[in-house]
């Protein structure tokens, strides 16, 4: 564990002391090294149980896929940001990279925390670099609005969580993950207990996001620069899911009744946001709403509290992280060429950038959960466990799958097929860097088809 964390911390130092000419290559190689080392986390001799480093940090089959995803994403973010930061002054480039690295450090600490308060502090700490990235390096004026929404939605949701954790600690004495399993809060049917339950979950539901509190996500994703969008979509949303999975243990008897409205809201959100995707004119906005849609399924899978639900949620989180990040990178390749995110102005690109069309194709297929990709595995497990709980959810989830397929195909066909407008005929050809970026996104996804045991958590 420390072999990843300490090098990450020292990557900060490297950012500021490298000679400028070698900055990006150095940081890229360094972060690749860290990412490769992080793959050792996936080797777990036992299926359950924790692997300890010290008293404060540990990982287990639930957190190790997310940790590896976090570490894998940093080199990808570096590759993606290199072009649009090239014109900025030197110190700003270094600052940007430092923000990305500090984000990774906070995320590693969050996913490997053994105690809920540490998790909470790191959860909040990730907001700051993300906010700075969105509001300082975003492209449009609306980024200020987006930053405000992002910050305040998440903060307002997580303040009750702090209170709830402190209540639990003062009554039970410990918030360590080890002891959580044996210390559920005694259930007396006080209204206050139900409020406490809600307080525990609200932060994570806002972060996921759940459909009713999702407004910050399209704004933040659209206005953020590419690295910001990537990390938001791939990892920060999963913080919410991961937190929910951890805290479910202490919420036990109450969840049976109280989770009902949230499951329904999540499933309704899948359909609603899917339908919104069909009406979007802005490409990044479409991908952002599709994130909300997939995360709705994840939220429902976690709230259902069955082994298959948890497994499906975790697999879908990892697969969605890679897919969504890949789609944002593809949207960024469009944006860097045409300086516009409007879909109708960037059509018929298969004629001009045929190899990029391959990546678009693979990413769109992954988005619509094509077998045998892990996206489908996750979705099927969640849908099955929901069906087991109640037959009628099948209507919602089935409709949701249909709408997901339609908007993914719509996005692919609109951007790649069709007549190409005259102003796109002389578009810049694809760079090797862009191909590398997308290959590194989609290759892990394809490899996971062969060994999903790596990412399906301690159940199954």
């Amino acid at each position: 564990m420390l072999k990843i964390l300490i090098p990450s911390m020292f990557m900060l130092l490297t950012t500021w002391t490298s000679p400028f000419k070698q900055l990006w290559s150095t940081i890229l190689m360094y972060s690749f090294l860290v990412a490769t080392l992080s793959l050792t986390w996936l080797a777990m001799p036992t299926d359950t149980g924790w692997f300890y480093i010290n008293n404060y940090m540990a990982y287990d089959p639930l957190s190790s896929p997310l940790l590896v995803l976090t570490c894998w994403l940093l080199p990808l973010m570096i590759i993606a940001s290199q072009n649009h930061l090239a014109e900025e002054p030197e110190n700003r480039q270094r600052t940007y990279i430092s923000l990305l690295i500090s984000l990774q450090i906070f995320l590693i600490l969050a996913f490997s925390a053994t105690e809920m308060i540490m998790f909470y502090v790191m959860f909040e700490a990730t907001l700051i670099p993300t906010l700075i990235i969105i509001t300082r390096w975003g492209n449009q004026m609306e980024r200020l609005n987006a930053g405000t929404y992002f910050l305040f939605y998440t903060l307002a949701g997580s303040l009750p969580l702090l209170v709830a954790l402190l209540i639990y600690h003062s009554s039970m004495g410990s918030l360590s993950y080890l002891s959580l399993t044996s210390l559920p809060l005694t259930c007396s049917n006080l209204y206050a207990n139900k409020l406490w339950w809600m307080a525990c979950l609200l932060a994570f539901l806002v972060k996921m996001p759940l459909y009713g509190v999702h407004l910050w996500l399209p704004k933040a994703h659209v206005e953020a620069p590419i690295a910001g969008s990537m990390v938001l979509a791939a990892v920060l949303l999963k913080l919410g899911g991961y937190g929910m999975m951890r805290i479910m243990i202490i919420l036990d008897p109450l969840t049976k009744e109280l989770s009902y409205p949230f499951i329904i809201l999540a499933l309704w959100g899948v359909i609603m946001t899917g339908s919104i995707c069909l009406r979007q004119t802005d490409l990044k906005s479409l991908i952002a709403y599709s994130s909300v849609s997939h995360m709705g399924l994840v939220a429902a899978g976690i709230l259902i509290q069955t082994p298959w639900g948890f497994t499906g949620a975790l697999i879908l989180m990892i697969a969605h992280g890679l897919t969504s990040s890949a789609l944002f990178c593809l949207a960024n390749t469009n944006y860097e060429r045409t300086h516009s995110r409007t879909i109708i102005l960037a059509r018929g690109l298969q004629m001009v950038l045929p190899l990029m069309a391959t990546w678009w194709f693979l990413a769109s297929l992954a988005n619509l959960a094509l077998p045998p990709l892990p996206n489908l595995m996750g979705e099927i497990m969640i849908i099955t466990s929901l069906f087991n709980w109640s037959f009628y959810t099948l209507i919602l989830t089935g409709l949701g799958t249909l709408i997901t397929a339609s908007y993914s195909l719509y996005m692919f066909l609109l951007t790649q097929r069709g007549p190409i407008p005259h102003h796109l005929i002389l578009l810049e050809p694809s760079h090797t860097r862009e191909h590398l970026l997308l290959a590194l996104h989609l290759l892990p996804l394809l490899l996971l088809i062969a060994k999903p045991e790596l990412v399906w958590g301690w159940t199954a």
């Binding site: 004119t281 045409t338 409007t342 109708i344 005259h422 102003h423």
Partner: protein
């Protein structure tokens, strides 16, 4: 002394108001010192304010102010913590249309019309003349005809006439007045002499084939229909029966503008002074190096100010009319070595044309088409009071100076009046009541419009160079450019021949006119 007393008085009132629980000192409370203690020297001479301090009314005002401030600061509103000049264009736009004349606004309207979802694209129209005092659109005579020799021009005019006849289906806005173009369907009457009569016949056939309702008249028929014409020297005449006449260009411009803005287009008054572009060097099939440019952003300068705003954009449409050539020069077109592709400028430049308003009470009267004589002179009725407007295109060698819009009245005496009076004897007795001058966006290459992308600038569409037909073709040209941008090619009218390729191949597409 007086100030101390006043201060003392105000402290007393503040304490008093604190006791009463006022939230802050309003103007009413601040005026108390003048009345406290009867200090006549320091009494404020204000005449406003409540005589009695109404606590509840003040409270209500303050709460309303606080509510307004809170509502402003909430994320949903457009309140910004720092002041921005509201006249600046947005920082980013999808399509920037340079030129707010009738062609520019027509393109903006059609782009907004064709986007399938509302707010799908951001269309910005940049116009540098807020009063439109020098714009070619409003200074135009406003005629529309189908009597061209090129099928493209005929189709453009037919489509535009159809659009304008049903203008309220297209351009009406809810809760606003309907559009009235004052379209006089009086038709065009071309008079041909013996030498050019055959051209007129050929054109007539082309026009009929294209669907224009034109008729050929013999001089006797002309004399029967229009007795005030002197048919000496006239061998053949062609008269447009439908879809020809004149209309009010300002109404059309405003109709397009109003509708486009209601659909979401953004208007900005400013001048485009610079472009930021990226350069790419490619190898052509003949192993040559070709340098193409792609516009990244447009620098819009505010009128009479040093302020400017760079607008990041995906596409730029050059609808700048007479100044299209100068706009293209900012991108380097025309400034390269003479014999290369870079040295070929966009062949559009301003040409000044005079229009004279004359009053002739014994003139042709109401039944008066837009008459164009083979000598080049033209006139049409203006209004119902016996006024006519008239003009003539000057010779190539005598082109007037284009640095200003001053009218040369001698030109009327020397060139226009004699020919006018010859053709219509009633015009021997007339009085010039006013005159104006306007610029043609004159295409020096072949006097026909250029629609399409320039081969060297990857994302700049041109819709310019119409040389006097821009207004009458504007609705159809707008639709054509919108189809090019959004559909990837022409859908309703095939205007491929009007692209830049004819200029680079040096094959002019000339009109076979009788004038």
């Amino acid at each position: 002394m007086c100030a101390w007393r006043r201060l003392h008085g105000s402290v007393r009132t503040l304490r008093g108001s604190l006791l009463r629980g006022c939230l802050s000192s309003t103007a009413a409370t601040r005026r108390q010192p003048g009345r406290c203690g009867g200090l006549t020297l320091c009494q404020r001479l204000s005449t406003g304010g409540a005589l009695r301090n109404d606590f509840f009314k003040d409270l209500e005002d303050q709460l309303a102010a606080m509510r307004k401030k809170a509502a402003d600061a909430l994320p949903g509103s457009s309140w910004m913590p720092f002041e921005i000049n509201p006249n600046l264009p947005p920082e980013t736009a999808d399509i920037v249309i340079v030129g707010g004349g009738v062609v520019g606004w027509s393109i903006a309207y059609w782009l907004k019309q064709k986007e399938r979802l509302p707010r799908g694209m951001r269309v910005l129209v940049v116009e540098r003349d807020p009063s439109y005092s020098r714009a070619s659109t409003v200074l135009s005579v406003g005629g529309i005809r189908q009597q061209f020799s090129l099928p493209e021009n005929i189709y453009l005019s037919l489509a535009s006439a159809d659009f304008m006849r049903n203008i309220n289906e297209h351009l009406s806005v809810m809760n606003e007045d309907p559009v009235d173009l004052q379209f006089n369907h009086s038709g065009y009457l071309f008079l041909a002499s013996e030498e050019v009569a055959h051209i007129m016949e050929e054109n007539y056939n082309t026009q009929r084939l294209a669907g224009a309702k034109v008729s050929l008249l013999s001089p006797q028929r002309v004399k029967e229909n229009f007795p005030w014409i002197n048919t000496e020297g006239v061998a053949l005449a062609s008269y447009g029966l439908e879809n020809e006449g004149w209309f009010d260009p300002w109404s059309l411009l405003n109709a397009f503008r109003r509708k486009a803005i209601s659909l979401g287009a953004i208007q900005c008054f400013g001048e485009v002074t610079d472009f930021k572009y990226t350069t790419h060097i490619r190898t052509t099939a003949d192993e040559e190096q070709l340098e193409t440019r792609r516009i990244k952003s447009v620098k819009v300068q505010m009128p009479n100010s040093m302020e400017y705003q760079p607008v990041e954009c995906a596409i730029v449409v050059n609808a700048a009319g007479a100044y299209s050539g100068k706009l293209a020069e900012m991108l380097g077109i025309g400034r390269g070595p003479q014999d290369s592709i870079y040295g070929l400028p966009v062949p559009v430049e301003p040409r000044k044309r005079y229009v004279y308003v004359v009053h002739c009470p014994d003139g042709p009267g109401l039944d008066c088409p837009l008459l164009i004589d083979y000598s080049g002179v033209y006139f049409r009725r203006e209004g119902l009071g016996g006024n006519y407007i008239s003009g003539i295109s000057p010779e190539e060698a005598e082109e007037p100076d284009t640095s200003n819009l001053e009218v040369d009245h001698q030109f009327f005496e020397d060139k226009v009046w004699p020919k006018l009076a010859h053709r219509v004897p009633a015009f021997e007795k007339l009085k010039v009541t006013s005159a104006w001058a306007g610029f043609y966006d004159y295409n020096t290459f072949d006097q026909n419009g250029i629609i399409g992308i320039h081969p060297l600038i990857s994302n700049m569409y041109f819709a310019t160079g119409f040389s006097g037909h821009g207004l009458q073709h504007s609705p159809a040209v707008g639709r054509a450019v919108a189809e090019l941008i959004l559909d990837g090619g022409f859908k309703t009218l095939n205007l491929k021949r009007m692209s830049f390729s004819r200029i680079f191949a040096q094959e002019p597409m000339l009109e076979q006119n009788i004038v």
